[in-house]
């Protein structure tokens, strides 16, 4: 059998059969879904404890405006002094007491409204209460000024500007968000993949060095073949693990809420609910349709092809560097000094991607970083959903693969020399010398 496929097979199977690999494959989704479910559960628990709120309205302005909901009960009291009600409310361990004093006019009342509670109350609740008060106070003031509230309502107008590119393509704010999500996800996925499986490659090179099998192997195969086999085998194991994670998380996310009856929607905060309501005014179905259109309008084919190209190119670029580091050191503790130059451009890429691309996908900074091969996979992947001219994408891919060939050559040199150097602490100066061997 061909050497390369033998090596790939061995690397793949030893990775996949490794106990900690198997445990991580199954444990990670369980932990992720578990934590998520726990948070959702705790959140719903929090909401289920109904809040009792007493209202003492001496002004008489706010008749029955507070409506009790599933989670909050409002009780009106009257004919008692503030002191009495406060005491009673505290004894009954009510969540809070809303006190609206009597005053000459609505403005004076508004300034004196006080909410008493055990601790400082939840900001969401206060926003809710203030909204009710403001709405009623406003309509009272309209009445005082002899303005018909209905007329005011009619005069209110909300504007959402239509967005269209010069080429006549419709865009929208929601569309931008979706593009960001798509691009961000792709970039972040690559980032994670590089770090997790790059490290795995590095460890596997170090293992061959420390177990001293390397000289036996390279007397049978060329180091470059071993290097490539290692990278490919580990990547396949990585893809397997990622697929398993996706499937398991998908299954668990559907099954767990059903079993434990956790309402994942409960995660939505009141503001989100309010937003959803505002957005819903145009009809929920309509919105979903717009979103679907936005997804459909994404350059999907372009995205998929480029995702594959940048993913492979970017991953191989970094993987070969990780392998070179593994060859240059004797143990994992010695890798520190070499890790920084690898992690720095990666982290930079993610930050540039998140902050610059979000702000201006086609600005100078975003453009420059989408050509630099060490940042281009992440940054370009984030830019593509916003529509990048094909020539720019091609140029970036060409630069990436050109650099990839360069780094593999560099890594192979370091690797070839490094794997046979035992007990020598490699410095950058030493590595430069190795290139000439």
């Amino acid at each position: 059998m061909n050497h390369l496929s033998l090596i790939i097979k061995r690397e793949y199977y030893t990775k996949v059969k490794n106990k900690s690999f198997i445990i991580m494959t199954f444990l990670t989704p369980i932990i992720m879904v578990g934590v998520f479910s726990l948070v959702a559960y705790l959140f719903s628990l929090n909401k289920n404890t109904a809040r009792e709120i007493t209202i003492l309205d001496e002004s008489g302005y706010f008749g029955n405006n507070f409506e009790s909901t599933e989670y909050t009960t409002y009780t009106y009291v009257s004919g008692k002094t503030l002191g009495e009600v406060k005491k009673q409310s505290e004894e009954e361990e009510n969540y809070g007491l809303l006190y609206i004093p009597k005053a000459d006019n609505i403005d004076a009342v508004a300034k004196q409204i006080t909410f008493y509670s055990e601790d400082s109350p939840s900001p969401n609740l206060m926003i809710d209460i203030e909204n009710v008060l403001e709405k009623e106070a406003r309509s009272l003031k309209y009445k005082e000024a002899n303005i018909d509230p209905a007329l005011i309502e009619e005069m209110r107008i909300s504007i959402t500007a239509n967005q269209e590119t010069y080429q006549g393509e419709e865009t929208s704010k929601e569309g931008s968000v979706i593009k960001l999500i798509f691009g961000g996800l792709a970039g972040y996925l690559l980032f994670m993949f590089i770090i997790i499986y790059g490290n795995m490659i590095m460890r596997s090179v170090i293992e061959e060095k420390t177990s001293r099998i390397i000289e036996v192997i390279v007397s049978s195969v060329k180091p470059i073949k071993l290097l490539l086999g290692k990278i490919i085998g580990t990547s396949l194991a990585g893809v397997t693990q990622f697929l398993m994670w996706t499937i398991l998380i998908g299954v668990l996310m559907t099954v767990v809420p059903l079993i434990f009856g956790i309402d994942l929607d409960a995660m939505q905060t009141p503001q989100q609910e309010a937003l959803a309501q505002v957005a819903g005014e145009g009809g929920v179905e309509n919105k979903i349709a717009t979103l679907m259109m936005e997804v459909y309008n994404l350059p999907l084919l372009n995205l998929v092809i480029m995702f594959l190209l940048f993913f492979i190119g970017g991953y191989l670029l970094y993987a070969s560097l990780y392998a070179a580091i593994g060859a240059a050191v004797d143990s994992e503790t010695d890798t520190q000094q070499f890790m920084m130059p690898i992690l720095l451009p990666l982290i930079l890429a993610v930050y540039v991607g998140i902050f610059t691309v979000m702000d201006n996908p086609h600005g100078t900074v975003a453009q420059v970083f989408s050509y630099i091969p060490f940042t281009s996979p992440v940054v370009m992947l984030m830019r593509i959903p916003f529509g990048v001219p094909i020539w720019q994408q091609v140029l970036s891919v060409v630069i990436l693969f050109g650099t990839f060939i360069g780094t593999v050559w560099f890594a192979a040199k370091i690797y070839r020399v490094g794997i046979l150097m035992y007990g020598k602490k490699a410095s950058y100066k030493e590595l430069l010398k190795w290139l000439k061997y």
Binding site: L6, S211, V216, K436
Partner: protein, 309 residues
């Protein structure tokens, strides 16, 4: 005798450092060739060049009449000094993998492994992981993997390290048997008694240069210098001692003897025969011991290297 391996004028530099400087060796077919030298002399570099792990800067290697090619790998079995196996892999899986890398098919490899495992009585290790085995046990597997594909040329770098005397002897016998079956062996070691016992030819490398090579017996002949260990019971010890010192180059010697005799190591001039020495000794007293000193590999090693330095 035809040569299986010829290395011609090999030079190799690592940056400023000269690892090998114009080294040539010729390994006759069917011989055991000792590659000797102090630590850091360049032996491992030369071995790695023969294995095509490192490329020489200058010079060429010819294997069985052909310039070395990548597919010659399957004709060479190499047991490196720095050796090991994948710790978490099972013995059988690992041996199969390494055998297949050497170009054997899976079924061939299985059959041969079974033969060797039975022969060395290690058949029940097949499903064990290397980390469960002792160092000596792992070395045995390493040995099997090295010879499994029946290469024409076997290269052993310190093959006995990590073995107890019983297993070292077992491996020694296996190596001799492989030689008898037609393999050629290059053997690098610091254990001079093994060289003495096994090698037909040696080459000595010091400070990246070859300083000595040839048949071990020829080298010994060249290094023998008319020296004899002598035991003598003389009536007058002081007189005998004085007379001998006048006539020959005499040094005190130490060898085991049950008599209370004088012990000397005597070197005679090249044109003097041993009979002359014997006759003279007989005239001084009773000879209890007379033995020509043959230089050992150890003596040759130390003397040559020291002279070279």
């Amino acid at each position: 005798m035809s040569k299986l391996l010829v290395a011609q004028n090999i030079s190799k530099n690592f940056g400023e450092f000269k690892a090998l400087d114009d080294v040539s060796i010729e390994v006759p077919k069917g011989s055991i060739f000792g590659l000797l030298g102090p630590n850091g002399a360049g032996k491992t570099t030369l071995i790695r060049i023969i294995n095509q792990i490192t490329m020489p800067d200058q010079g060429k290697v010819i294997l069985d009449g052909e310039p070395l090619r990548p597919d010659h790998i399957k004709n060479i079995g190499y047991l490196p000094e720095e050796r090991g196996l994948y710790k978490s892999m099972k013995v059988g899986e690992q041996a199969l993998y390494l055998a297949q890398l050497k170009g054997l098919s899976k079924s061939e490899a299985k059959a041969k492994l079974k033969y060797w495992f039975d022969r060395l009585e290690i058949g029940d290790w097949w499903n064990k992981k290397i980390q469960e085995l002792s160092k000596g046990m792992a070395q045995k597997i390493q040995f099997v993997v090295t010879v499994l594909h029946e290469p024409k040329l076997l290269i052993f770098d310190e093959p006995f390290s990590g073995f107890d005397p019983i297993n070292a002897n077992l491996i020694k016998d296996e190596i001799l048997k492989l030689r008898d079956d037609g393999a050629t062996v290059i053997f690098s070691t610091h254990r001079m008694e093994s060289v003495e016992e096994m090698c037909d030819h040696i080459a000595l490398i010091n400070r990246s240069k070859k300083i000595l090579d040839g048949k071990l017996i020829d080298i010994k002949r060249a290094y023998q210098n008319n020296t004899f260990d002598v035991g003598l019971i003389a009536a007058n010890r002081q007189e005998a001692s004085g007379l001998l010192s006048e006539k020959f180059n005499v040094q005190p010697a130490s060898f085991k003897s049950i008599n209370d005799d004088l012990k000397y190591r005597i070197q005679i001039a090249p044109d003097t025969s041993s009979n002359e020495l014997l006759q003279y000794l007989a005239s001084l007293g009773q000879i209890t011991h007379f033995n020509e000193v043959i230089p050992t590999a150890n003596d040759i090693f130390i003397e040559t290297v020291n002279k070279n330095n």
